[in-house]
Symmetry: D2
Subunit: 352 residues, 4 copies
C-alpha cells in the first residue's frame, strides 16, 4: 500500500501529445498521489501542455511544456521519475523498455509492443520479438499482475472490450469451434491523430467501413487473452469497423453453444466474474449496450442475448479510457498501492 | 415493352411522406415515363409536396398536395392510376393489396407484408399470412419476375445488401453449416421518421449500438433469398446496428468455406453473376467497401477478403434507394418495359 | 463560510431528468459538501437515477429514484432540504418559488422566470411578472450577490456567453449606438430533451439555421445585464442559431467603437475584469475561440479581433455547464461558503 | 444559341480533383451538350476519374483519367477544347488565363483571381492585379454578362449567398451606414480537401468557430457586388464560421433601415428581383431558411424577418453547387446558349 502521503509518485509520459497521452495528462492531473514530471512529444516540444489539453484538473500542469523524447530519456536515466507511461508507437515503446531495463522505474506500455507471447504473431504484427510482460487487464488477471512488475503491457482497446465481453462465457461453457465471430466498431480517435485526407471530416463524417479485414493485430491478442482466461484453445475471427464518432468501441460477439444452456446460468457466470468489479456494468440484454453510456468513463458495459444455442454478447468501452489511458492508470494504481479506482471513478459519461 | 411514348404511366404513392415515399417522389419526378397522380399521407394531408420535398426534378410536382389515404383509395378504385407504390407499414400494405386485388393496377410494395413465404416467420414478424408475391430483387431473380405481375414484394434494405453480398459465394461454393454470421449497420433513416426522444440528435449523435438482436425480421428474409438463389438450406445469424449517419447500410458477412478455394475462383463467381449489372460495383477487397461510395445512388458495392478458408464479404447500399425506393423504381421499370436504369443511373453519390 | 464539515448541505433538484438536471446530478454527486435528497421528474418518476445518468461520481446516488414533483414539494415543506435547484420550465419555477417563499431554503432557479427586471419584457417573454432576484453571474456581479439570498436567478446560456464577452469592452469604451450585433450558435441540447421529428437526428444532422429571429427571450436579458454592468443604456440585436452538435455555445459579437483605441487598451480592460477569474480564459484573438476548448467544462473562453474601429469579440461556453448547471453550482458554492470552484475545477474538456 | 445538336461543346477542367472539380465532373457528365475532354490534377494524375467520383451520370466518364496540368495546357493550346473550367487556386487560375489569353476558348474561373476590381483589395487578398472580368452572378447581372465573354469570374461561395440575400433590400431601401453586419457559416468542404490535423474528423466534429475574423477575402467581394447592384457606396462587416457538416452555407445579415418600411414592400422588392428566377426560393421569414433545404441543389433560399427598423435576412446555398460548380455551369449555359437550368434543375436536395 502507498501510505506515505507526503511523497508523491513521480511520473513521466512519453508520446504525451497523442490522444491517449492527452487522456493520461487529464487523468494524472487529477490524481492526488501523482507528480507529473515530464510529458514528451517531439512534434509539440516546447509548447505548453495547456495549449493542447486546456487547463485541467486540480493539480496545476500549466507550468509544464512538452519536452522532446531525448529529454524524457535523460530525466528517466537521471532518476527523476518512478514510473513512465509509454503512449508511443510499438517500436518506440520496445526501444525505450530495452534501454531502461535496469532503471529503477516501472513502465506501463500502452502500445502493442509487449502484449503478444507468440513469436510468429509478434513478428507478423509488430516486427518485434514475443514478450512475457504482465498483461494489465485487472478484471481478468488481477491476481496475476505482480505488484512489483517492472513492465506492464496495457491491453489494446478492441482486445479489452472483446475479452471482457467473452471471458466468463468461454470459461464456463463450451462453444462450437469456429463459431466465434467478433465484429467491432470504433470511433475515429482509435486511429490516433492523423494529418491525412483520409481522416478528414469531409471524408469520414458520412462514412462507415470495415478495415484491416482478416489482418488486424488485435485478433491474436484477443485469442491469447481468451485462451488464457478460459484454459481452452480458441479460434475466432475479428473484424473492426470505423464509425464517424470521436470515441467509443462496441464489440458484437457471436457464438454457438455446444449444448443448450439457460440464460440465467450464463448471467450467473458473468455475475461471478464481474459482480464486484467497480468498472463493469452488466445489462439485461445485448440491445442495452451502447457507446453513449460509457464514453467519458473507465467503465465497460456488457450484455448478452441468447436464443436456443445462439448467443450475441455486446460490450462497450471508451477506447481512450478503459481501452487505453484509464486502464493504464488502473494498472498504475495496482502497482503503487492506490485504490484501483483512484482518479477514475469520478469520471462521468459525456452524454447527459 | 412500353412503346407508346405519348401516354405516360399514371402512378400513385401511398405513405408518400415517409423517407422512402419522399425518395419515390424525387425519383418519379425525374422519370420521363411517369405521371404522378397522387401522393398520400394522412399526417401531411393538404400540405404541398414541395414543403417536404423541395422543388424537385424536371417534372413539376409543385401543384400536388399530399392527399389522405382514403382519397388515394378512391382514385385507385376509379381507375385513375396504372401503378401504386406502397411505402406504408406492413399491415396497411397488406390491407391495400387485399382490397384492390381485382383492380387493373400493378402494386409495388416497399413494406415487408408480402416478402416471406414461410407461414411461421410471416406470422412471427408481421402478424400476416405468408405470401407468394414476386420478390423484386432483379440482380438475383430478374427472369423470375413476371412482367405482368400484379404485386411485387420490394426487398428489405438489409436483405438486399446481404443477399447481393453472399449469393454468388453461396451458390458456387460450400460453407460450413452455421458459419454464416452477418453483421450490418444502418443509418438512422432506416427507422423511418420518428418523433421520439430515442431518435433525437442528442440521443443518437455520439452513439452506436446493436438492436433487435436475434430478433430482426430481415433474418428470415435473408435466409429465404439466399436459400432460393443457392438452392441450399441455409442457416445464419444476422445482427443489425444503428450508426449516427442519415443514410447507408454496410453488411459485413463472415463465412468459413468447406474447402480451400482460390480468391480468383470466387471473384469469377461474382463476375459471372454481376459482371453486366449496371448497379453493382465489384471492388478488390472488403476494406474498399464504404457507405460514402454509394449513398445517394442506386448502386451496390461488393468486395471480399479471403484468408485460408475464412472469408469476409462486405456490401454497401443506400438504404433508401437501392434498399427501398430506387429498387422499387427498378422493378417498376421492369414491369412497364422501361430501361431498367431509367431515372436511376444519373443519380450521383452525395460525397464529392 | 461553510465550516462544519460534519453536516452536509441537503439538496434537492426539481426537473432533474432534463439536460441541465442531469448535469446537476453529475456535479452534485462529486461535491463533497452536498447530500442529494431528491431529484424529481414527473415523467421518469420511479426510475432509478442511474438509468439516465449512469453511475456517477464518488458519492453513491445509485439508491435514488426520480420522485414526482409533488413529493419534492412535500420534502421541501417538511424541512428535508436546505437548497433546491429548479431545472424546471419558467412557469413551474415561478410557482415553486411563490409557494415556498417562506420556507427556510435557498432556491437557485435555472429557468428564465426570475431574470428580467422589466415588466413588459418579463410579460412578453415569460408571461410572468418582473423580478428582482439576485442575478447569479459571479464574474460580473459577485459582490452584488447577497450571501443570504433566498433566490438566485441563474443566467441564461446565451446571456452568460454574450455578457461575459462584452462587459469589459462596454464598460470601458464607447461603441456606436446600434452597432452591437450579436450572433450566436448553440448545440441542440440547448433546446432541452425533445420527442419531435424536428429534433430528430435525420432532421438536424446536416442542418444549420437561425431561429426565433428578432424574438428570442435572451435579447432583453443580455441588454439588461450589459446595461447594468456598463452603466449605459444599450441597444443590440441578438440572433441565435442551431448547430448540429450536442453541446456548446459560441457568441460572435460585432461593435464599432466611437473612437480609435489600441488593442492593448482593450485587452487590459479584459485582464482587469477577468485576470483572476478561475473559469475565464482570455485568448489572443477571436479566431482562437472554439467550442471544443470549453465543452465539458465550466470555463468561458474569450478573444477579440480589432481592425480600425471595428471589433469582433467571440466567447464560448458549454451551454449545460457554465450556461446552466455549472454556474448554478458556482452560485451554490457562493451562497454556502464553499470555494467557488468546488466540484467544477476538475471538469475537463471532452475533446482530447 | 447553341443549335447544332450534333456537335457538343468540348470542355476541360483544371483542378478537377478538388471538391468543386469533382462537382463539375458530376454536373458535366449529365450535361447533354458537353463532351468532357480532360480533367486535370497533378496530385491524382493517372488515376481513373471513377476512383474519386464513382460512376456518374448518363455520360460515360469511366474511360477518363486525371491528367497532369501540363497536359491540360497542351490540349488547350492544341485547340482540343472550347471551354475550360478553372477549379484551381487563384494564382494558378491567373497564370492559366494569362497564358491562354489569345486561345479561342472561354474560361470560367472558380477561383478568386478575377473577381476584385479594386487594386488594393486584389493585391491584399490575392497578391494579384485587379480585374475586369465579367462577374458571373446571373440573378443579379445576367444582362451584363457578355455572351461572348472570354473570361467569367465565378463568384465566391459566401459572396453569392450574401449578395443574393441583400441585393433587393439595398437597392430599394436605405439602411444605416455601418449597420450592415453579415455573419455566415459554412460546411467544411468550403476549405477544400485538406490533409491536416486541423481538418480531421476528431478536431472538427464537435467544434464550431469563427475564422479569418475581419480578414476574409470575400468581404471586399460582397461590398463590390452589393455596391454595384445597388448603386450605393456600402460598408459592411463579414464574419465567417465553420460548422461541422460537409456542405452548405447560411448567411445571416443584419441591417437597420433608415426609415420604417412595411414588410410587404420589402417582400415585393424580392419578388420583383427573383420572382422568375428558377433557382431562387423565397420563404416567409428568416427562421425558415435552412441548409438542409438546399444542400445538393443549385438553389438559393432567402427569407427575412423585420421588426421596427431592424431586419435580419437569411440565405442558404450549397457552397459547392450554387456557390461554385453549379453556378459555373449556369454561366457556361449562358455563354453557350443552353437553357440556363440545363443539368442543374434536376438536382435534388440530399435530405429526404
Amino acid at each position: 500500500m502507498h501510505k506515505n502521503t507526503q511523497s508523491k509518485i513521480r511520473v513521466g509520459i512519453l508520446g504525451a501529445a497523442g490522444f491517449s497521452g492527452v487522456e493520461l495528462i487529464h487523468l494524472l492531473a487529477n490524481h492526488p498521489g501523482v507528480d507529473l514530471i515530464f510529458a514528451s512529444s517531439d512534434q509539440k516540444a516546447g509548447q505548453p501542455l495547456s495549449r493542447l489539453v486546456g487547463r485541467t484538473g486540480s493539480t496545476d500542469t500549466s507550468h509544464l511544456c512538452f519536452c522532446p523524447a531525448i529529454e524524457a530519456e535523460n530525466l528517466t536515466r537521471s532518476g527523476a521519475v518512478d514510473a513512465v507511461f509509454l503512449a508511443t508507437p510499438a517500436e518506440a515503446s520496445a526501444q525505450f523498455a530495452r534501454k531502461h531495463k535496469e532503471a529503477p522505474i516501472r513502465i506501463i506500455d500502452l502500445s502493442g509492443a509487449h502484449r503478444l507471447r507468440d513469436e510468429a504473431q509478434a513478428q507478423a504484427h509488430y516486427k518485434l520479438p514475443a514478450n512475457a510482460a504482465a498483461y494489465g487487464l485487472p478484471e481478468l488477471f488481477r491476481e496475476a499482475i505482480p505488484r512489483d512488475a517492472k513492465l506492464i503491457a496495457n491491453p489494446g482497446c478492441y482486445a479489452t472490450a472483446a475479452a471482457l465481453a467473452l471471458a466468463p462465457l468461454l470459461r464456463e461453457f463450451s462453444v462450437q469451434t469456429q463459431s466465434l465471430v467478433i465484429h467491432a466498431a470504433s470511433g475515429v480517435s482509435g486511429a490516433g491523430r492523423k494529418a491525412s485526407e483520409e481522416f478528414s471530416l469531409t471524408a469520414l463524417r458520412d462514412d462507415y467501413r470495415a478495415y484491416r479485414v482478416l489482418n488486424h493485430q488485435h485478433e491474436p491478442e484477443i485469442v491469447q487473452t481468451l485462451s488464457e482466461s478460459s484454459g481452452k484453445n480458441l479460434e475466432l475471427t475479428f473484424t473492426p469497423h470505423l464509425i464517424p464518432v470521436t470515441r467509443g468501441i462496441l464489440v458484437t460477439a457471436h457464438a454457438r453453444l455446444e449444448q443448450a444452456v439457460q440464460a440465467d446460468a450464463i448471467f450467473e457466470a458473468y455475475i461471478n466474474q464481474y459482480g464486484r468489479e467497480p468498472f463493469i456494468d452488466l445489462a439485461e440484454q445485448a440491445d442495452d449496450i451502447r457507446l453513449s453510456a460509457v464514453v467519458g468513463t473507465n467503465r465497460c458495459q456488457i450484455g448478452f442475448t441468447l436464443q436456443d444455442r445462439r448467443i450475441i454478447v455486446c460490450a462497450a468501452i471508451d477506447n481512450l479510457i478503459k481501452g487505453a489511458a484509464g486502464q493504464a492508470v488502473q494498472n498504475f494504481n495496482l502497482l503503487f498501492g492506490f485504490p484501483e479506482t483512484e482518479s477514475l471513478i469520478t469520471l462521468r459519461r459525456y452524454q447527459s
